[in-house]
């Protein structure tokens, strides 16, 4: 029993790293632009399909394909921001951006269904099922690679936020947008880059998700609700919070699955509700002052 639990915890932590990467994109977009990107889930699936196509049609290794898909997703994010999100103004902006990103999600979902159909597919390079045997535990290589990649990228984002001029602008905007504007930060440009960055990381999440799950375009709904829960639990706008919350949530789900596979997802959402009852601002969030 103890062995199964340990195995579940290891799985949860490894998978949590990958979810953290997708959630960091969401939380960055939230922190800088004060919007929820509903399309994040379907963008992960788009990343999965891109990697799938490159693998089956051109024979490019899914991890190698990231060199193509990450820039592609970054450009997509910048274009979406420029074309739709930056044009919204006024009091109902929050609800409006919710609708815009939902519309983008619907369009991408429709196109994916049109192009790939409704059948489940999986990215299956030769090593997808190979495992490594450490201390009596079997761990899939794909999870290890995904985890390492996720950790490297999260550290890179951290460095970007705390060691560069761009990162200083991002943090300034998070603290006070008006003041940031006054000291000469080009809020619109920083927002566009941030949106692109937040979307770009979904390419990585997409590869790992697509190689460990069979997916079709419907999987975006499941993903976005999980990612939103992680971001809320971690405290919106907090990168470290997203990291901690995703590892916590995925570990809880993975451990509960040992006894109750059917109710594991309910426990996942119930954990969110319970934490919010005690700490409405999330585990690592700052208390909102006059949040309306």
């Amino acid at each position: 029993m103890a062995r199964e639990i340990t195995q579940a915890i290891i799985d949860g932590i490894l998978l949590g790293g990958v979810y953290a990467l997708m959630a960091v994109g969401l939380t960055l977009i939230f922190g800088v632009l004060d919007i929820i990107n509903i399309a994040q889930g379907i963008l992960v699936i788009l990343g999965s399909y891109l990697a799938y196509s490159l693998f089956t049609k051109a024979g490019i290794d899914p991890f190698l394909a990231l060199l193509i898909t990450i820039p592609a997703m970054f450009i997509l994010g910048v274009v979406v921001h420029w074309a739709f999100i930056s044009r919204l103004r006024g009091g109902e902006r929050t609800s409006m951006t919710l609708l815009v990103t939902y519309a983008v999600a619907l369009i991408i979902e429709g196109i994916l269904f049109k192009v790939y159909g409704a059948d489940n597919v999986q990215i299956s390079p030769s090593y997808v099922n190979s495992t490594v045997h450490i201390f009596n535990f079997y761990i899939g290589w794909i999870y290890i690679w995904g985890f390492i990649l996720a950790v490297v990228l999260v550290v890179a984002i951290y460095a970007l936020l705390y060691r560069t001029r761009y990162g200083r602008s991002v943090r300034a905007i998070m603290q006070d947008e008006t003041a940031a504007r006054l000291v000469g930060i080009s809020v619109n440009r920083v927002a566009a880059i941030t949106f692109g960055l937040g979307v770009a990381v979904t390419a990585v999440g997409g590869v790992v998700y697509g190689s460990t799950n069979a997916f079709n375009a419907n999987a975006g709904y499941d993903l976005i609700s999980r990612l939103l829960s992680i971001v809320i639990l971690g405290g919106m706008g907090s990168v470290g919070g997203a990291l901690g919350a995703s590892v916590f949530m995925l570990t809880v789900e993975s451990v509960v699955t040992i006894w109750q596979p059917t109710w594991a997802v309910a426990v996942y959402y119930a954990a969110l509700v319970i934490v919010l009852l005690v700490r409405p601002q999330g585990l690592f969030g700052r208390k909102a002052v006059r949040a309306q």
């Binding site: 939230f30 929820i36 739709f84 044009r87 919204l88 006024g90 109902e92 929050t94 609800s95 409006m96 919710l98 609708l99 815009v100 939902y102 519309a103 983008v104 999600a105 619907l106 369009i107 979902e109 429709g110 196109i111 994916l112 269904f113 049109k114 709904y221 609700s225 939103l228 829960s229 971001v231 809320i232 919106m236 059917t262 109710w263 997802v265 309910a266 959402y269 119930a270 969110l272 509700v273 919010l276 009852l277 409405p280 999330g282 909102a288 006059r290 949040a291 309306q292």
Partner: protein, 355 residues
């Protein structure tokens, strides 16, 4: 006098609309046409219920499907376990409303502690818990769902009867929403939307008010969910607790005009028949209809961000004002003449300061 005329015109317009709505199934008896009408009215009711809570309070709820599905399942389970048949099933409708309100209270007590984005996400989370319960609890019929008791109505009166039931629900919910909008309660809700902390400071019992509106909204949504279930004769967890249901409601309300009853109704009457019709056309069904709905949504948000009704009423006001002389303030400022040659150096302080 003018004000009274406008009220009469408005009332007359509403009566005409109501008469048209009543006559619709008598003129178009084809069941495939009337079923558009039934679904449109069902969604109009649900959209007005959404408006009662979210439109007034500003809290965007994406958990209305919790009530919709619960209403449908309450009716299905009660009819199955108590062996109700035929029209006697309609006696369950008050029970469905009560269940909706009863669910709304603990739901609201949890979700209404947080605001804005967090509230939206919490409603989504609770929605998924309910969907999972519908899949997995022992009395819900699992993934195959429930079938409704059989109604021995022929297709034409079947649709006509349901049309009038749905119309009654829609009119009832509109009346409730209108009364709330006029009342002190509605005023308190809108105060919460504008500035919750200040409303509380002025003595509004914010939690009680929000919870009350949420329960009313939940009860109406549960009732219309039960009627929807009896109309389409079956419910599955993914159709009763459908994530798209919530997003569709939001789309309808924003298309029509956020914050007004007429906007909610108009959006539902446009969107629901459109999606139903697209699903019958092979070239437009499935993924293409998803793309079209997404594109409509984008266009609405970008070019009519306030919805059809506010934008068009603005347009009408502009057109009516066109012939009339503009109102000129009594103290007009004389334009400052800076000489005939613009390149000549001026001595005015304003331009001097700029140099």
């Amino acid at each position: 006098m003018n004000e009274r005329n406008r009220t009469f015109a408005k009332g007359g317009g509403l009566v005409v609309l109501l008469v048209l709505a009543v006559l619709f199934p008598q003129v178009f008896t084809n069941p495939s046409v009337t079923s558009y009408g039934v679904l449109a009215l069902i969604f109009a009711t649900a959209a007005v219920a959404w408006h009662i809570f979210s439109g007034n309070s500003g809290y965007i709820s994406l958990g209305q499907a919790v009530f919709y599905g619960s209403g449908a399942y309450t009716m299905g389970i009660a009819a199955r376990d108590w062996n109700l048949q035929g029209t006697s099933v309609f006696e369950l409708i008050p029970l469905c409303g009560a269940v909706g309100a009863a669910i709304a209270v603990p739901f609201g007590l949890i979700a209404l502690r947080v605001r804005r984005h967090t509230f939206i996400v919490v409603t989504i989370a609770i929605f998924f818990i309910f969907q999972l319960m519908a899949f997995n609890l022992w009395f819900t019929g699992g993934s195959s769902g429930l079938a409704s008791p059989f109604l021995t109505w022929a297709p034409v009166p079947f649709n006509q009867n349901f049309y009038y039931i749905a119309l009654a629900c829609a009119v009832g919910s509109i009346v409730v929403a209108w009364l709330i909008g006029r009342s002190r309660f509605g005023l308190q809700l809108r105060a919460i939307r504008d500035d919750e902390d200040r409303a509380r400071g002025l003595g509004v019992k914010t939690m009680r008010v929000k919870l009350g509106a949420f329960a009313i909204s939940g009860a109406i949504t549960a009732i219309i969910g039960a009627i929807w279930f009896y109309f389409i004769t079956q419910v599955q967890p993914q159709t009763g607790f459908n994530p798209l249901f919530d997003l569709t409601l939001v789309l309808m309300v924003f298309l029509g005009g956020f914050g007004s009853i007429s906007g909610a109704v108009l959006g539902a009457v446009i969107i629901e028949p459109l999606t139903s019709w697209m699903s019958t056309v092979p070239a437009l069904s499935g993924s293409v209809s998803t793309i079209i709905i997404g594109a409509i949504l984008l266009l609405v948000v970008l070019f009519m961000p306030r919805g059809i009704i506010p934008t068009s009423s603005e347009l009408i006001t502009k057109l009516r004002m066109r012939g009339r002389p503009a109102v000129v303030p009594t103290t007009t400022i004389e334009p400052v003449s800076t000489g005939s040659d613009p390149s000549a150096p001026t001595t005015s302080i304003g331009s001097g300061g700029a140099r």
